[in-house]
C-alpha cells in the first residue's frame, strides 16, 4: 500500500526528504477562524509534526459558511474554536501533535508559546495582534506569513526576519481602517485562496525550499479575477523600531488595560478586564440565573439576557453577542461585572 504522503512526495520540490522535514516541524497558527481553519487543515493533512493553535472565540452559526473545521453541532454547543479545531484536526491526522489554547493572546502569553516554533501563520482578524506577532517574529527570528481577507479580496506576504521588510516597515503605525468582514462581508473562496497562498509558502519554508519563497506582497480580488503584486525591494526601513538598527519592539511593551473589541463578522463585542480573573462558574451562574437562562460547559458559561447572549470565560473575558456597539456592550457588562461586583464572583 502506498504511504499516505506518497503523492505529496512525488511532487519533486518536496520529495521524500521534504516530507521527512515537514514531519519534524512545529508551527503556531494564531487564530482558528476562517484562515486559521483552512491553513490548519491543509498543513495537518500534509503531515506537519506539531501545531499550536490559539483562539479566544467560540463557534457560532454565522461562522459555518467559511470556517471549515466546524459543524452545526459545535455552533449549538458554543464550543471554543481552539477545542473544536483540535478535535477535528486530530480526526484528520492522529500523527500530528496538536496543542490547543483557548486564549486571548497578548505579547506576554504569546512569547511563552512561540518557543521552538519554526513558523507562525497569521489567522487573525486585526492589526493590533499582527503588530505583536511581528515584533515577536523579529525578536525571536521566526518567520510569519501574513494573511488577511475581506469581501472577495485577499492579501498575503511572507515576512522573513533578516531578509524581508517587516510589517512595521510597511505600515509606520497600526492601520486604523482595514477592510474587515464587518465592513465588506466575506466569501469562502477569498479565504480559501488566501489560505492556499499562505500554506504553500509555509510548505516551502518548512521543507527548506527557501529560495522558492515569494518575495512580493500579493493582493487579489477573486470575484473580478484581478491580482496585483507589490515588490518589496524598497520596503525595508533602516530606522524601523521593530527590525531596524535600533530596535525597541514597541508592541511587546504595552501596558495592561481593559480592552473592548468588536469581533470580526458578527454582532459581538469582546470585553477583557484589565487584570486576569479566575472565575468560578457556579458563583457566576447563581448571580446570572435570575436574569436569564444560564448554560455552561468546561470552558464557557452563557446567559441569555434580553436580546443578548453573554458568554463568560474563566479568565474574565466576556463576549456580548447581539450588538456591534461598544457602548451598549459596556453597559450590559457593567450590569453584571462592575468592579464592585467582580469581587463576588472572583475566586483567588
Amino acid at each position: 500500500m502506498e504511504n499516505r504522503y506518497a503523492k505529496q512526495e512525488l511532487f519533486s520540490p518536496i520529495g521524500r526528504e521534504g516530507q521527512n522535514l515537514l514531519q519534524t516541524k512545529h508551527i503556531l497558527i494564531m487564530g482558528a477562524g476562517a484562515l486559521g481553519s483552512a491553513n490548519a487543515e491543509m498543513l495537518v493533512r500534509a503531515g506537519i509534526g506539531k501545531v499550536t493553535i490559539i483562539d479566544r472565540d467560540i463557534v457560532e452559526s454565522s461562522n459555518l459558511h467559511r470556517q471549515q473545521l466546524y459543524t452545526e453541532k459545535e455552533a449549538e454547543k458554543h464550543t471554543p474554536k481552539a477545542i473544536a479545531a483540535k478535535e477535528r484536526l486530530q480526526q484528520i491526522n492522529q500523527d500530528t501533535k496538536i496543542d490547543a489554547f483557548v486564549l486571548d493572546a497578548d505579547a506576554a502569553n504569546l512569547e511563552k508559546l512561540i518557543r521552538n516554533v519554526n513558523l507562525i501563520i497569521d489567522g487573525t482578524d486585526n492589526f493590533d495582534i499582527r503588530f505583536i506577532l511581528n515584533d515577536l517574529s523579529q525578536k525571536h527570528q521566526i518567520p510569519w506569513i501574513f494573511g488577511a481577507s475581506a469581501g472577495s479580496f485577499g492579501m498575503t506576504y511572507t515576512f522573513i526576519p533578516g531578509k524581508t521588510p517587516c510589517l512595521h516597515c510597511l505600515f509606520p503605525s497600526i492601520p486604523g481602517i482595514g477592510m474587515s468582514c464587518d465592513s465588506s462581508g466575506i466569501i469562502g473562496p477569498a479565504i480559501q485562496m488566501t489560505a492556499s497562498y499562505q500554506t504553500t509558502e509555509a510548505m516551502k519554508w518548512l521543507t527548506e525550499n527557501e529560495e522558492a519563497l515569494r518575495t512580493s506582497l500579493l493582493f487579489f480580488d477573486i470575484w473580478h479575477g484581478q491580482q496585483q503584486t507589490i515588490g518589496m525591494n524598497k520596503g525595508k526601513n533602516k530606522e524601523c523600531l521593530s527590525c531596524g538598527n535600533n530596535r525597541a519592539y514597541p508592541y511587546l511593551n504595552q501596558s495592561e488595560t481593559a480592552h473592548i473589541d468588536v469581533l470580526c463578522g458578527r454582532d459581538t463585542v469582546q470585553i477583557r478586564p484589565s487584570s486576569k480573573k479566575k472565575y468560578d462558574f457556579s458563583h457566576i451562574a447563581k448571580h446570572l440565573q435570575s436574569h436569564g437562562n444560564v448554560k455552561s460547559n468546561n470552558y464557557v458559561l452563557t446567559c441569555l439576557y434580553r436580546d443578548y447572549r453573554i458568554a463568560v470565560f474563566h479568565d474574565g473575558r466576556v463576549l456580548i453577542h447581539g450588538t456591534k456597539k461598544k457602548d451598549e456592550a459596556k453597559s450590559i457588562y457593567h450590569e453584571f461585572f462592575a468592579e464592585t461586583n467582580l469581587n463576588l464572583v472572583t475566586k483567588e
Partner: protein, 77 residues
C-alpha cells in the same frame, strides 16, 4: 502623465478603478492628501502604495509615466 490605480474599497468610493493625473514632481503624500480633499476619499492616506509595482513610501517623487497603485489594508480573517 501619471496613471493612478485604485483597489478594493477605494474603487467603490470613487466609482472607477483608475485616473490619469498630471502630477509629475509631486510626492506620494502630496498626491494622497490631494485625493483625500478633492474626492473625499476616506482613508487614502492609510493605503499601501506601489509605484510601478514596487512598494514605495510617502516621500517618493513621481515622474511622468509612473503607474501608482493604492491598496487599502485588509484586516479580516
Amino acid at each position: 502623465m501619471i496613471k493612478v490605480l485604485f483597489f478594493a474599497r477605494l474603487q467603490e468610493e470613487l466609482g472607477k478603478d483608475n485616473m490619469e493625473l498630471d502630477t509629475a514632481g509631486w510626492t506620494i503624500d502630496e498626491l494622497k492628501n490631494w485625493l483625500e480633499a478633492e474626492y473625499n476619499l476616506d482613508g487614502v492616506t492609510q493605503t499601501m502604495t506601489a509605484v510601478n509595482e514596487e512598494f514605495t513610501d510617502g516621500s517618493h517623487i513621481l515622474a511622468s509615466g509612473d503607474t501608482v497603485a493604492f491598496i487599502p489594508p485588509v484586516s479580516g480573517g
